[in-house]
């Protein structure tokens, strides 16, 4: 009996463990990251982005933020296009995470302008009321670039001396924001996934003064961080005296303005609440 032969027992136990290991862990190397699944537009990290990614790892951001959008309605509607394996070929290590104490970040790239991130990192609750994210004001310190070139070499990422030179004077904040803006933004999903509103659009609350208080409240919660509580503008432009038709304002809020860094609020607000914000915005004048 093998219960009397410890060495044979040990070998048998090892063999038993290796069966599942080989089939589900070793063999998939043959299929995962297959060149056929490669996405041409997905590029390696620049030295600044890589330093930012290392700060993300150092601070343990992955303990609260995932980076995988699952092909499920509640994920794709909320975060964007679902994640594809070809998007992660330069990720050593992967940063998919396991718990969403905060939102998924797989599609954070290009969602907000840099200035939004700076304010949010400095004081998260000033941008997202009641958020429980720690403040990362201390990232304003200078970036340590002593390993940058070695890191690029270790990962075999292309770079030029000018790229390394460009790191001089950068802060850790610059680096992590450069990384944030790259995450999930290598495929043109924002363009293809953009909601085009078709047909004639009419504001259901036009001239309906009763929705103004709610519109104002929504503005304070979702818009004031960038446009100021008095709509005078800060990160985003001044919104007073807007002479655009309601439908155009609606489209800007609902789908965002990619070129200007305006995020889309359709997934957050839905149609009805967006119209209420639009009604409020149109009601505010300089005098």
């Amino acid at each position: 009996m093998i219960e009397k032969k410890p060495i044979i027992f040990l070998l048998l136990a090892t063999a038993t463990i290796l069966v599942g290991t080989i089939i589900t862990m070793v063999l998939p190397f043959r299929w995962i990251n297959d060149p056929k699944l490669a996405i041409a537009s997905v590029k390696p990290y620049t030295p600044l982005q890589l330093e930012g990614r290392d700060i993300y790892i150092r601070e343990g951001c992955n303990n609260c933020h995932t980076q995988t959008v699952r092909p499920l309605l509640s994920d794709t509607e909320r975060y964007g296009e679902y994640s594809k394996s070809g998007e992660f070929v330069y990720d050593q290590p992967f940063l998919w995470g396991s718990r969403r104490n905060g939102p998924d970040l797989a599609r954070i790239g290009g969602k907000y302008p840099d200035a939004w991130h700076v304010k949010h990192m400095k004081d998260p609750r000033s941008m997202v009321p009641r958020s429980n994210m720690p403040a990362y004001d201390f990232l304003n310190r200078p970036l340590d670039t002593s390993l940058s070139e070695k890191k690029m070499k270790a990962l075999k990422f292309p770079y030029t001396p000018a790229d390394i030179q460009a790191l001089q004077g950068k802060s850790e904040m610059d680096a992590i924001i450069a990384y944030m803006q790259k995450v999930g933004n290598d495929i043109p999903w924002r363009k293809t996934g953009k909601t085009e509103v078709l047909g004639e659009m009419k504001n259901p609350f036009q001239d309906n003064m009763s929705v103004l208080p709610e519109g104002q409240k929504l503005y304070a919660e979702h818009c004031a961080q960038c446009h100021g509580i008095e709509l005078k503008g800060e990160v985003g432009p001044d919104l007073r005296d807007m002479d655009q038709p309601d439908a155009k304002v609606f489209a800007s809020v609902y789908s965002g303005i990619a070129a200007g860094g305006m995020p889309a609020f359709g997934d957050t607000l839905g149609k009805e609440r967006t119209w209420k914000v639009v009604t409020y915005l149109k009601s505010v004048h300089k005098h």
Binding site: V19, G20, I32, I57, Y90, F94, A135, K271
Partner: protein, 467 residues
Amino acid sequence: MNQQEGYADDIVKGFVIWSMVWGLVAVLVGVFISFQIAFPQLNFPPYLTYGRLRPIHTNAGIFGWGIGSFMAFFIYITQRLTRTSLWSPGLAKAQLWLFNIVIALAAVTLAMGMNRSKEYAELEWPVASLVVVLWVIFAVNIVMTIVKRREEQMYISLWYILATLVGVAVLYLVNNAAIPVSLTKSYSAYAGANDANVQWWYGHNAVAMVLTTPPLAIFYYFLPKATGVPIYSHRMGVIAFWSLIFMYLWTGAHHLLWAPVPDWVQTLAMGFSVMLIAPSWAAVFNGYFSMNGQWHQMRENYLVKFLIFGITFYGLQTLQGPSQSIRTFSAFIHFTDWVPGHVHMGTLGWVSLVLFAAIYYTIPRLYHSEIYSIGLANVHFWLVLTGQLIFSITMWIAGVQQAAMLNATNPDGSLHYSFIETMVELYPYWHMRAVGGVIYLAGLLVFLYNIYQTIAGAKTQAVAQRA
């Protein structure tokens, strides 16, 4: 007594005591980070943020408290089941030193942000290399003791011990493969979806080889010791053992359901996870049937209470786990608080209850005395049980609520809540969890006091006898 038989028991004492120290650290940090989630002002960057402290909590729990006490009891159990003294007590002494150095280094380096980011494999390569040295020293000592044993037949606990030794070695080496950049920085040797698949093969089998097979070895040894009657079925133990270590290794990808890894890997993981109910429950039934005619001991013998509640939580854990590994249910609760609720039933309920029993059993014997207070042991039991149940049940409710909110849609098909709207509703649950954690901590302090008094009492007694 033990010393007369030449067993290396001083080293067991060392490991037990240090594992309790690290266990206290794990729970203290755990309680602190549970407050940080509820009150973000409690983050003190750069060193004391949730992001840096959570790995310290998990590493102190799994490696400090878990592995530390497993080392203690593997050494204790192996000597007795082989009727042989430890192959090299000197090596074991070095192992204890190295163990404490590694855990302390882990805590310091993680606080400094030296972190590989892979869960339960966060330690940077120099520290991880020391872990490998530590494990080799340990494994060689145990295997050599078994090889030169005086008892021919190996009892079931020894099988689980041997499987643990080889399993942890394979998992740790593969998942920690790294490309070093400097002494404090390295990158994973694998990329993207491959890295994810390797990581969760490791992560889930750390649950197998650290949080299942060692406590089972300890359970199979101490339950008969505590009750005085043998285990119900040796044959059931054989079947359960081989099927458990065969099936576990297929299931890692149930952590990656709906993620971009091949579908067939996910499906296999799902199927094998459900199949794992059988060997898991074979161990549970083996425990329950061993209690035939002995159930009165649940009232009379506090050790049995810890062990039987422990195996019961193991049973619940191995039903809940497979249910979570089903695609549809995973889609709902994955990434929510449900999962920490699940994990803590296993770690606080199953693993820790069994370890408490083992410590209560061995410490008085190692120090030739009686436990200081059975009353306090009962207080300890009810406090940790209450704390853990508050924690887990609160988190399950929180998880289901958030999942339901995240999935709620408007009549036009758009989502009803933004992420932050679902998150702010979790604050009351996070407060409750922190309360559960504090109650658990109180129970742990009662336990430590009881053990301290037992040891202190034994020492004064010994001095009195000598005088």
